[in-house]
Symmetry: C2
Subunit: 314 residues, 2 copies
């Protein structure tokens, strides 16, 4: 109850502990998430993605300053990439955002990959719910790369901003990787460098070629985040896009779509958690694998047995 | 039965149809997969991955020629990247491998992303089983990028070859992306270009820094696949690595590990297929999402309801 009250009051330590409890899937975490649910849905959630090196952190830091100057509380969730094999975080540079960290109106949290894509996505959305309930008006969700899981997380927001820079073929990479397809706003950062106008031109060309209806009115903004240039305009652009979407119903439609995806992945997470518990079907995996290799069963027969085993325990 | 006999005889059209049936998850596909299971396990499966542009297709084409010159039958499965959002394949350039396609001893198949990572991985492994049963001695599985799903597919082989080129920081990218961690053999293609020796030096340095026991004896080979140079040596390197692994038990251990992963993902696929069928829990998704957004239920309560609903139908 203390933790719940702390979260509701916006106490940073309580929020931090609550996010950890939720992330670890403890019963306390689950109880908290159910308890704060009525308070969830007020904050605007903005996702940021783009290739490494375009200045996502710098942009978000600058944006946080602008939001704070308006007196709004803001939460930042930075989703770190990790090697899928070692589980170790690649980025140790979360000691950043100098100005923001001493400000009680700003809450920051890094989330790292925990095994599965679904797990990270779940943890990120639970953390956003907790920040929402704690009174943050805006929640900025930053993913550090353009892998599919990171793109999934960035698009699970109300609005997704794709950040590019004029350097090193990022534009072409972005078009190829499919991240432009989730962009609601494109920000060309480091816009003072050579190639910014060409990149914008190429992006417009790419958008025009696409049949999808939303591409035509995707704002392409420029910034030099390091100097704070273009960041108030970014915030204004976000607010204008949100207002337009609330007007035409797109905002609610997107929230519904996102919630459908979220419930799907949450249900899958719950089933897999039970399925692979050591005392459940998980304990039979190695034996079954050997049986398949020895032709005592086929792979599909073995998988069916695992499923029946898993479902028996519920 | 005709299709089964065709596959067993190595008839290309039968194999092609069988792979399609398996990919689509039809009852006929399932029956076939169960029927050919006793014949599976004889072929050597080699996975290839690496950043775009390093010459993977050229390398595999050249390798196919060398394998054919020894009289062995070979199957090639090319796993194409697609945008996770449009579902459209990016690569239209599968009209390649000119020499190989007229040779009845070579079977080629492209697989494209079908919704989920798990689905593509399942389809690729089923296709490899069918090729195995059809009498291919070697199955080469090529993934076109270094995304996590592609890496998962490449490592599901008996041996994984990571191809790099000296160009454009591929080495650093490879180290960062984690693909080196799945390399059993590293091939530096385009080895005539500047930087090949430096790349090898950097790779050795990176391997030496790692604690993992296998890194020390990862062969780093050079090739100029376009001219066929270094490709017989690649085949010899693969065969030497396989012989060493069969000797020390690593080969069987790896097959067991791969089968454990395969059964896990197959069981998850089966559950999710039932879970999201329109006439099952899937049909309740939108209503539940709206209830969560209206605070009539929490997200976890809604997901639990979905799980109960799904399991009821089994």
């Amino acid at each position: 109850v203390n933790l719940l009250e702390g979260v509701k009051k916006g106490d940073p330590l309580s929020v931090s502990r609550a996010i950890t409890a939720a992330e670890n899937g403890t019963p306390e975490g689950r109880t908290l998430l159910d308890a704060i649910a009525p308070l969830v849905g007020r904050a605007l959630r903005v996702g940021f993605t783009g290739p490494p090196g375009v200045g996502k952190s710098t942009t978000i830091d600058a944006l946080v300053q602008v939001i704070r100057s308006k007196g709004e509380r803001v939460g930042v969730i930075a989703v770190d990439p990790t090697s899928p094999f070692t589980g170790g975080a690649l980025l140790g540079d979360r000691i950043r955002m100098g100005k923001s960290t001493e400000d009680a109106g700003v809450f920051m949290r890094s989330m790292a990959t925990r095994g599965t894509t679904g797990g990270l996505s779940r943890a990120t959305q639970d953390a956003a719910d907790l920040l929402d309930a704690s009174g943050a008006a805006r929640i900025l969700i930053e993913t550090v790369g353009v892998g599919q899981s990171e793109v999934e997380i960035a698009r699970a927001a109300d609005l997704t901003i794709v950040i590019l820079s004029p350097e090193s073929g990022d534009g072409i990479q972005a078009m190829k990787s499919g991240i432009l397809e989730i962009a609601d706003v494109v920000l060309i950062n480091k816009a003072d460098r050579t190639g910014a106008d060409k990149l914008e031109h190429d992006l417009r060309g790419a958008f025009d070629l696409r049949p999808s209806r939303r591409q035509a009115d995707i704002p392409i903004l420029h910034s030099e985040a390091f100097r704070g240039k273009g960041i108030p305009e970014l915030l204004a652009g976000v607010d204008a896009a949100v207002a337009a979407r609330k007007e035409n119903g797109e905002f609610d439609r997107r929230r519904r779509e996102n919630m459908v995806r979220r419930l799907r992945s949450l249900a899958e997470y719950m089933i897999e958690r039970d399925l692979w518990a050591e005392d459940g079907a998980g304990g039979k995996l190695v034996t079954l694998a050997e049986e398949v290799l020895n032709h005592a069963r086929t792979s599909y027969q073995a998988a069916e047995l695992l499923v029946r085993e898993a479902l028996k325990t519920r």
